[in-house]
């Protein structure tokens, strides 16, 4: 004998859970689109690598006084 009770409370909880799901999905979309816009605003997308905390050899100019940067 299974107990099945559909109470108004369950519906309200479901509404709340779905609402939270919607908000979280909207937040994911927000951060994603914000990232796309911010990267596009840089003009040159390769500049984005400059935010990395690791030395990116590809970003270091090959000639000139760039050596100082590369040895850091």
């Amino acid at each position: 004998m299974s107990i099945k009770v559909e109470h108004e409370l369950h519906q309200r909880r479901k509404g709340r859970n779905m609402g939270l799901l919607g908000l979280l999905l909207a937040f994911v979309a927000l951060v994603f689109l914000l990232t796309v816009v911010k990267v596009q605003e840089l003009g040159d997308a390769s500049k984005f690598q400059g935010y990395d905390h690791v030395v990116q050899p590809a970003l270091v100019p090959l000639e000139g006084e760039a050596g100082a940067v590369a040895t850091e």
Partner: protein, 310 residues
């Protein structure tokens, strides 16, 4: 046993109850004025960044509303107008409102800082602090000038919008702040005269109850006179123009006339026509603010065609 569990859980909040904590009606004014502040600024903002910025300002305003409801739950319970709010009606626990308020405050400020700049985020943080702590916790229950100083919280949004675009504060943004700041007292006190409030029972010192309606009428007149140069002065800054100037002159004469009518009456006259002049002044005050900001928006919108501005 079923009955007992029903009794305990039937007050569980729904999504709408949490939304009501954010004072959606106040939010609409905040969204509009912040949007105008952002659009009239001389620096263009990417539409999506503008959207995120306005969203952050709206959520920040909502968060301060939730903190206000958490702090004021004791007096909200006593007053008829506020007794149905989520906390006094038992739908939301006070701790939940506090948690929601603090979380959304941090969320909105941090996201605004990441999406735009630190000045805008700092101004938003200060606005939330000002409304929740300076106004709700301190001034509201201690001085009849509470809404005058507290009005600053409602005046910040266009300044934040401007800071989102320009990253700074300027004469224009200070004047937009001053317009809302000086407008709040006559707007609110016109309402306070005709609404039969029970602030007295709740121990909130409202000017109408501490100093009487006569003094309140004088105060409305005083603030109206101080408001006019601010409203008209904006016309001569970089965001003003002939459209704004014409709108401002008409609106100021209209609101002045309404305030003079309120000022010259005594209580017998007011009660005889059921506060018709006070109700009219309150209605005019709503148009006053909305149309001033709409005129600023019109100036900015027409600028690309050489029609806006001087």
């Amino acid at each position: 046993m079923t009955d007992v569990s029903l009794e305990q859980t039937s007050h569980e909040a729904g999504m709408g109850d949490y939304f009501a904590l954010l004072k959606p009606r106040v939010m609409s004014l905040v969204v509009f004025t912040a949007l105008v502040g952002l659009v009239v600024a001389p620096v263009p903002v990417h539409p999506f960044i503008a959207f995120v910025a306005i969203l952050c300002i709206a959520v920040g305003a909502g968060a301060s509303g939730a903190l206000n409801m958490w702090w004021d739950a004791d007096i909200d319970r006593i007053m008829r107008r506020t007794a149905k709010r989520p906390i006094p009606s038992g739908k939301v626990q006070p701790g939940e409102a506090l948690g929601l308020g603090l979380t959304l405050s941090a969320f909105s400020v941090i996201l605004l800082a990441l999406a735009t700049n630190f000045l805008a985020a700092g101004l938003l943080a200060f606005t939330i602090f000002f409304y929740a702590v300076i106004y709700s916790m301190w001034l509201k229950r201690s001085t009849p000038q509470n809404i005058v100083i507290g009005g600053a919280a409602g005046a910040f949004p266009p300044m934040i919008g401007w800071a989102v675009a320009t990253g700074g504060v300027s004469l224009e943004s200070i004047l937009m702040f001053a317009l809302i700041f000086m407008w709040t007292p006559p707007h609110f006190w016109a309402l306070a005269i005709f609404v039969k409030s029970d602030y007295g029972n709740a121990g909130v010192p409202m000017l109408t109850e501490t100093h009487g309606r006569r003094v309140t009428r004088n105060h409305i007149m005083g603030y109206m006179i101080a408001l006019m140069p601010v409203a008209i002065g904006i016309a001569f800054t970089s965001i003003g123009g002939p459209i704004y100037l014409a709108t401002a002159v008409v609106l100021n004469l209209w609101f002045l006339k309404a305030c003079v009518r309120v000022w010259r009456r005594d209580e017998t006259q007011a009660e005889a026509d059921n506060f018709a002049a006070e109700k009219a002044a309150f209605k005019v005050s709503l148009y006053y603010l909305f149309l001033h900001f709409s005129a600023l928006l019109a100036e900015a919108a027409l600028r690309p065609w050489g029609l806006g501005g001087w």
